[in-house]
């Protein structure tokens, strides 16, 4: 094939431009170590990168949710420990254990007041807040869940013993339903919504802690209220209302002992509730560890799909710039010569 000067110049120019532009691209890679500047450079890497970014975002959301929930539930745990202590205080040799036939009316008065004080403190503890929200209100965190009206305790407007509203009517939700109330938070378990619109319990974290599941509600087989505050009220009233000056009558004593026995059962129920809260915390801890691992994996995946190894980028740049310099040197020699240079 006949090669003319013009062809050589043209091809040389095109080739030098190509070498320069490859070198420039390799230089760009050494600055930002990116595999692609825009998706058309490497559509597969781009698509994977965007997936990783999306999943990283979600993971960060879950981590934030878990951290917040841990703080809330840790606070709740502490409150319940305090309530546990109060119930224990109520059942010491100075108080409930001291109730027997010989207790005189002065002591009964003092004891009754002590019990009332403990009851009030329990109610106030169960109305604790964290970060501006009530801890034990179930799905209502903006109003105090427990209220004393006279000596009746109400939870969310419902009398904890009778299960009715203050005006005697039936509530829209029963106390039983309220203990099963759920407030779900997404921590990355893969939310599933059932056909009826409710959320599948395994697929999200239930942060609800309805107060009545810890301090009891309703009545037992003997007709005694199960709520510890109601029991303390009953015991206190029974102590104050006894007619005898020095002792309690047998029937009065039996009555009070019956309340005390139910009280001890309800205290056990509280402890069960506490361990359930402890389990929630453990679950959050292990989820938190898992999410940290996932975060690390995603970061390393992002590195893999979006970025080049520095070694590859630098090595590529050096070889491209070597190509470019040698094409410049060679060009100098090739382009000058022609027969014209040798004619006299």
């Amino acid at each position: 094939m006949r090669i003319t000067t013009h062809m050589m110049m043209n091809n040389y120019r095109n080739d030098v431009e190509d070498a320069f532009s490859s070198m420039n691209k390799a230089l760009q890679h050494t600055i930002d170590y990116r595999k692609f500047e825009r998706p058309s450079d490497d559509p597969v890497a781009a698509s994977q990168t965007f997936d990783v970014h999306w999943m990283t975002g979600l993971n960060n959301d879950y981590t934030a949710n878990v951290t917040d929930q841990k703080a809330t539930i840790t606070t709740a745990e502490k409150v319940l420990q305090h309530v546990d202590k109060l119930l224990t205080n109520a059942d010491t040799t100075d108080t409930l254990k001291a109730v027997n036939g010989d207790i005189n009316s002065n002591n009964r008065e003092v004891l009754a007041n002590q019990l009332t004080d403990i009851r009030n403190e329990i109610v106030s503890q169960m109305n604790s807040m964290y970060s501006g929200n009530y801890l034990f209100g179930g799905s209502n965190d903006s109003d105090p869940p427990f209220q004393m009206k006279g000596d009746q305790l109400y939870y969310r407007g419902i009398n904890v013993d009778t299960g009715k509203l203050e005006d005697g009517s039936k509530p829209k939700i029963t106390l039983d339903q309220l203990t099963n109330e759920k407030t779900y938070v997404d921590i990355g378990l893969g939310i599933k919504v059932n056909k009826d619109g409710s959320i599948n319990a395994q697929s999200a974290f239930d942060s609800a802690m309805p107060g009545i599941s810890y301090i009891g509600y309703g009545v037992d087989a003997d007709g005694n209220p199960k709520n510890v505050c109601s029991l303390l009220t009953k015991i206190s009233n029974a102590l104050k209302s006894s007619s005898n000056e020095d002792t309690l009558s047998t029937s009065e004593l039996n009555n009070i002992q019956s309340y005390i026995s139910t009280f001890r059962n309800s205290h056990d129920d509280l402890r069960n509730g506490q361990s359930a809260v402890g389990q929630k915390l453990q679950f959050l801890d292990s989820t938190s560890n898992y999410l940290t691992d996932v975060n690390l994996n995603l970061a390393s995946k992002d590195n893999e799909v979006e970025f080049l190894s520095p070694y590859d980028a630098i090595e590529s740049f050096y070889s491209q710039s070597y190509c470019y310099s040698s094409s410049l040197k060679v060009g100098n020699q090739v382009l000058q010569q022609s027969l014209m240079d040798y004619l006299k």
């Binding site: 998706p39 990168t49 965007f50 209100g137 014209m340």
Partner: protein, 557 residues
Amino acid sequence: MSSTFDGLRIARSGVQASRDNLNITGQNITNSETEGYTRQRVDQSSLSPSEYGGFWASTGATCGDGVRAKGVTQLRDTFLDGEYRTQNAKDGESSDILNALYDMENIFTSTTTADSSSNSSAINVLNNEFGKLVSILESYTNKNASESNVREETKLLASDLNSAATALNTIREHQYSNFSENSVDNVNGFMKNIAALNQRIKAAEVAGSPVLELKDQRNLMLDKLSKYVGIHVEYTRQDAGAGQKVDNLSVSLADKDGNSLKPPFTLIDGNQFANFTVTRDGNNESGAASTKPFDITHVRLSGLSSDSGKTFGADSGLKNSDIKSGSFSGYLKLLNESGEYDTAAGNITTTARGIGFYSQLLDTISQSFARMLNQDNITEKGEQHGLLGGYDVNGDESFDLKDITAENIHIASTWTDGWLVKSKNPGTGKDDNTNASYSNIINIISDLKDKPVTLNTNLDGKSGVTILHDTLQKGFAGVATMLGEDANSMQVADTTNSQLLNNIHNDRQSVSSVSLDDEAVSIIQFSQSLNASSRFMTAVDECLQTIINNMGLTGRG
């Protein structure tokens, strides 16, 4: 026996021919870098004896009459010219489409600037904003964000869709104006100039002059024309009177392989030329109203006219589908075609994914997004609180999906605090709130993340062509990746086209361009030939001197 002054005549012809050759060599050398220049050669032949075969012709050792330079010819391969122009049209088409795809890509992706702790990151704008919306909803369920935060983030996402749609429209306007003003004007200019050149060349050829420089100019213009439309060039011998024949150039529209279309659409014929016009309106090519959400661009070609050009013949009947190659074809694909959106259900897509595909895809995504949020935001009484809406033909807010486009999607004007339905749990009594339950929001989050949607070319989600059946997030992220894939494959095609074009260009140059080495040898060759002829003339002159002045002078001392 030859005549006395024959030798001188032969010598003179030799000197003249050598001088002509040297001049042409000089012409080649000085024009070696001129764009479009074809190297020239002198056509020379030896002359027979003048009285050859006549009654008084001499016989025996007769001699020819020297050399005659008949004319100058160009060394050019018209077949390669045709190949070049066909490939140039393909290259023009792919590079125009590629540039538009790059422009579109810039709308959907950007790169953050690197800070000292981390490398810069590629951001898929829609994917990013969608992720932020899910984040804010998660924070909302954890009481770390308010409803107005959620509203603002939704507004941002809607306005990202608005900006993307507007930017695509801007690109459409830009492409249309490039097409209907710059490109068409260039093409019409070329056709007019080529026709004018045709006239001059023909006149000069009739007069006997070869006008090779004008032919080079004409070929250059034909090359430039071929980038815009595929052309087929034909030379026909025409009778110019008095037994002379000259070439007539005609140019007609070609298909992808460089063959003229049947029936042919003539662009140039001798000194006559046609005129392209580009318009757009709301009708498709057959004249019926178009159902597309954008105007259709039409290319039309007039009949031929001579050089005044003020009135052109009747419409040649050209339709858009007759433009098969060149950047005109690229523009028509970008402006009129929408890929899957032009395809009936169950059929294979035969049109290209032009700007219309991406703008309609954004509309489909906007509608899916609005449908999902609006359907999920229903109160316990069953009332829908629409969150995202569009505008109807009267300019009123509408939640009807057919009124929602990427350009007009916006958050509902009724969205104030409390419009977003958090949960459908009733309280225990009239004074009980259920503020801590976000079951409806969790539902929305779950749908945004995981619910499969069908992005279909038809609003009902099934009777068109399905573009994507996946989560809504994949839809939002998918626009940039689809564009990336389309641009990437067009890049490969364009690079291939450029390489092929360059190869053909080299082949052409191999035949027609000037090699300085070649011309240097020619200089030596012809100057030696000139020396030799001059020497011969001197020798003949000496002979004649001897014959005339010194013959028959014996004894005169």
